[in-house]
């Protein structure tokens, strides 16, 4: 939460996301979360979240790349992929509604591979200056 807020400040998104509570409320719009609250997201809030995601992807590109690469040759880099997958599952169990069928799929080690690869690939393709527009296009096409 703190890193999201720090990035929003760096990107001058103070007007749209003035404090951490606003970001926390927006995060709760995810219907898969335990603390789901149905608020209408405004267009400028959606744009701000896209900008933050792209900025985070830029910053994390070397790590994203490493995780993607580790999946290509499991024998050599099994540790990196498994660490990431385990952490991903931990976070999902901690914060998402595990009774939901969609969440159950994300928790399954054999079924979540494709989802993780596609999500990481989407983020890695959106690090350019036009990354925000690209990410929007990907999301609208999802």
């Amino acid at each position: 939460m703190h890193s999201l807020y720090a990035i929003s400040k760096r990107l001058n998104l103070n007007e749209v996301l003035p404090n951490k509570v606003t970001i926390w409320k927006l995060r709760n719009n995810n219907p898969l979360r335990k603390s789901y609250v149905n608020n209408n997201i405004k267009l400028e809030e959606f744009d701000a979240l896209i900008k933050i995601t792209v900025e985070l992807s830029r910053y994390l590109y070397p790590y994203i790349r490493e995780i993607l690469q580790s999946k290509e040759d499991l024998e050599k880099n099994l540790v990196i992929w498994n660490d990431f997958n385990n952490r991903f599952i931990e976070l999902i169990k901690d914060r998402f509604n595990i009774d939901s069928m969609r969440v159950k799929k994300l928790l399954n080690h054999t079924e979540n591979d494709e989802f993780i690869i596609k999500s990481l690939l989407t983020l890695s393709l959106c690090i350019s200056n036009q990354g925000s527009q690209k990410l929007k296009n990907f999301l609208f096409d999802f």
Binding site: P62, R65, E66, L68, Q69, K71, E72, D73, E114, I117, K118, L120, L121, T122, S124, L125, I127, S128, N129, Q130, F138, D141, F142
Partner: protein, 196 residues
């Protein structure tokens, strides 16, 4: 005349553009508007190079394929110059076909990390103000395999249109009964039923 070189780097991939500025347009010395050659270097893979007319279709191929990869389960891109397909979403098989006769196609196997590096290099080239924008035909010349994907969207209309046809045909059908409906006769019937 000394040619200008511009390089775009992303992790294990670098793209080099070689060419000249268009002096007739009073361009700066470091500008590249007349591209004579390009080179795509991927670490541990053979060098890919070609003329300007090949760069656009190759960029198109990678962009279209990456979009298919994210939206489809098993993406395939096929064209005269380049084929890209995947076996398991982890490794992508690229076949580059030479335009010169008697030259065998070059086959490469790359993973998702290298694929994203290549596309990020192309993004840098597209966003560079120092290089003339590469003409691509993404919206014009979709290969057949890609058109099949758009057909999926057409299915949405197939889903919507039948109920509409049904409703409109019902309206049309019921409107024909207007000719058999006589309001005066109907009024007389009502009077007979309710004499008060």
């Amino acid at each position: 005349m000394i040619q200008n070189k511009l390089s775009f780097h992303q992790s294990s991939v670098s793209l080099e553009i070689i060419g000249l500025p268009d002096y007739s347009n009073n361009e700066n010395k470091d500008q590249i508007s007349i591209i004579s050659q390009w080179k795509l270097t991927i670490i541990d893979k053979p060098l890919i190079e070609g003329k300007i007319e090949h760069l656009g279709p190759i960029m198109d191929a990678f962009y279209i394929y990456s979009n298919l990869l994210i939206s489809n389960e098993m993406p395939i891109y096929e064209s005269k110059l380049i084929d890209i397909k995947t076996d398991n979403l982890k490794i992508h098989n690229i076949v580059l076909k030479s335009s010169k006769p008697n030259v065998k196609p070059l086959t490469l196997k790359i993973g998702n990390a290298l694929l994203s590096d290549i596309i990020n290099c192309f993004d840098q080239l597209n966003e560079s103000s120092k290089v003339r924008k590469i003409e691509t035909g993404v919206s014009k010349n979709f290969p057949k395999k890609v058109i099949f994907c758009f057909n999926n969207k057409v299915k949405f209309f197939n889903f919507i249109i039948p109920p509409f046809i049904a409703i409109f045909s019902l309206i049309l059908f019921s409107s024909t009964f207007i000719y058999f409906y006589n309001p005066v006769e109907d009024k007389e019937k009502n009077i007979l039923i309710n004499p008060n």
